[in-house]
């Protein structure tokens, strides 16, 4: 096994573009973070911030063309996935890095029994026999909290409720004991009580298997509940990166601050929410300066012409804003 103190995943300066004849969109523009075993990194952002494209880049699931990773490194256990052969990346995918999506119905095969779908992965990656694979599928469903697991192996996806389907997806993702689970808005389509169940399940499985979790979400509450580290993305860039408690206690980037202020809470009642005027920029139009500047209440002249660098405020906290005076730079 590899060094346990080294990050299991290290994303460095990732850049992903979509190119068509008419325009080029830099969906992810220089994203970096590290993920350790047993840890949860939350990637937070609104639609179009690049959070999902970053995940698909790691998984090698983006269609090329139009998408292309044009720069950076994705080090999994020290090996750069971007330089590895398609065959070796395919072997890691599903086996050591698994991913679940927001809408489980679209990621399950509707005409295949659940048991077969889970068994397919373990047969492929672990070389188990039909009998062994079926047993494994049943124990995974049980672990994911599905009652009558043995019986339900024969059911089709439509026979499960939304929450149960997400459990099936989790069971399938865990089928090969992955080192990393990438969860893209795993509870967004679910009701709160079911969301609480699924988040609890993910935490339990994390404790049990020391699995590392990349949690992609726009729900600030879910971040507060789950994350150790948080990366806030805006227009393809990481605008702030900090340990979760630090980020909530001491947000530095104007976008992070407005984002946190714009969420209502069940514990406090504000007269009025702080809202961010305008909307995120259209990346196809090209961006000059800081992409948040048009919506920012604190912008200075420089923000409109020049994008700020990511400045370190401390060893673990950095933000991309001209107003921040960090250590060095």
């Amino acid at each position: 096994m590899s060094d346990a103190s080294a990050p299991i995943l290290s994303v460095r300066g990732l850049k992903t573009e979509f190119r068509t004849e008419d325009y080029t969109v830099r969906a992810v523009d220089g994203l970096s973070y590290e993920l350790f075993r047993g840890e949860t990194v939350a990637i937070v952002g609104e639609s179009g911030s690049g959070k999902s494209v970053h995940a698909l880049s790691i998984m090698g699931l983006l269609p090329t063309p139009p998408a292309k990773v044009i720069g950076g490194e994705i080090l999994f256990d020290g090996v750069d996935l971007l330089k590895s052969s398609a065959e070796s990346v395919r072997r890691l995918r599903g086996d050591r890095i698994a991913m679940i999506f927001q809408e489980p119905m679209t990621s399950l095969n509707p005409v295949m029994r659940i048991g077969e779908q889970i068994a397919e992965a373990v047969k492929l990656h672990k070389g188990l026999s039909d009998e062994q694979a079926r047993e494994r599928a049943s124990s995974l469903l049980q672990k994911a909290g599905i009652p009558d697991a043995e019986k339900r192996l024969n059911d089709y996806p439509h026979q499960f409720s939304g929450g149960m389907r997400q459990r099936v997806m989790i069971a399938m993702a865990l089928s090969c004991d992955p080192d990393i689970l990438i969860a893209d808005e795993p509870t967004t389509a679910l009701d709160v009580t079911i969301q609480a169940q699924i988040l609890e399940l993910m935490r339990e499985l994390q404790r049990e298997f020391q699995m590392a979790l990349v949690l992609i979400t726009h729900n600030i509450g879910v971040v507060a509940e789950m994350a150790d580290e948080v990366v806030v993305m805006y227009a393809g860039r990481a605008v702030e990166h900090a340990p979760a408690e630090e980020l909530f206690r001491n947000p530095q980037h104007p976008y992070t601050r407005s984002l946190l202020a714009s969420v209502p809470s069940i514990y406090t009642r504000k007269d009025r929410l702080a809202s961010i005027p305008g909307q995120p920029p259209d990346l196809a139009l090209g961006i000059v300066g800081c992409p948040f500047a048009p919506r920012c209440g604190e912008k200075i002249e420089r923000c409109e012409s020049e994008d700020a660098p990511l400045v370190a405020l401390s060893a673990s906290h950095s933000a991309r804003c001209w107003l921040i005076e960090g250590e060095g730079k």
């Binding site: 709160v192 600030i220 879910v222 994350a227 909530f248 714009s262």
Partner: protein, 339 residues
Amino acid sequence: MSSPLLEVRGLKTHFSVAGETFFDPKRTVKAVDGISFSIEKGDTFGLIGESGCGKTTLGRTILALEERTEGDAIFEGRSIFALSKRELRGMRRNVQVIFQDPFSSLDPRMTVRQILEEPFEIHGILPSPRGRRERILELMDVVGLPAAHLERYPHQFSGGQRQRIGIARALALNPKLIVCDEPVSALDVSIQAQILNLLQDLQRDFDLTYLFIAHDFSVVRHLCNKVAVMYLGRIVELGETDALFENPQHPYTEALLSAVPVPDPSIEKRRKRILLTGDVPSPLNPPPGCPFHPRCRYAQDSCRVETPALNEVRDAHFAACPVLPFKDAPSAAALIEAE
């Protein structure tokens, strides 16, 4: 006290669906099953519950878009089910709706101008082109859409702007009540705050009353002054927002509140969570007795047999539970351990 703007009395909306096989008898889904509440002028009345609880069907029944099975809904003193076609049209001027999905609720082939003109055409109001145009530009201004976008199509707008178009359309005829069915749940966080603020401003400026249907507790807490919690077609708790959130009197509300993630890690770490097991039962086959009893941590033998009625358990605070309100139970707020 003046009479309420809208009063709902024992309303039931049942649907019959085919049996599992051809030979099975038809079955009944009791989507709305005996609901009563009233909304005063100026209220923002929150109707909250998980998917399938019947909140949207209730909203649609009040708009006379679904046929009621039993009970009544009285708007400004008249039963909406007793209105003639023409009277119903008049009622619809006063009761408008804003839908969840700003993508599917606007006709993609109509420009903003056409979308906003439609209500005037249907109701034969403001026939002069000049007057109509002025009113439309005024509406766009009120909801924060640039006048220059008058001739644009819905696909040229972002989700938040589309929701503004939907709001402008609902406001067009100066309604008294607006039914908002999950108006912000499809929007990004920063846009959600814009729309919630807009709804508050409009309420103040135009004396509006809202029936606000949502599944997001934080949004309801922020916006509403009264809340009803629904479970399987019934109201299980009803009260003033602060009282209900700070001191829930129904086990379902208590569990829901404890399940909502709070955007503050220091609270999250100290919070005790009540995890409900299992899913919401199928409304085709609801459990006997209290519909919540299979998931309830306070359930007693009687709960499996008797369906509890919605009773006033505190001042103006109603709950359909014979156990929790009479216990010295910690409220959800108290579930945060003291520092």
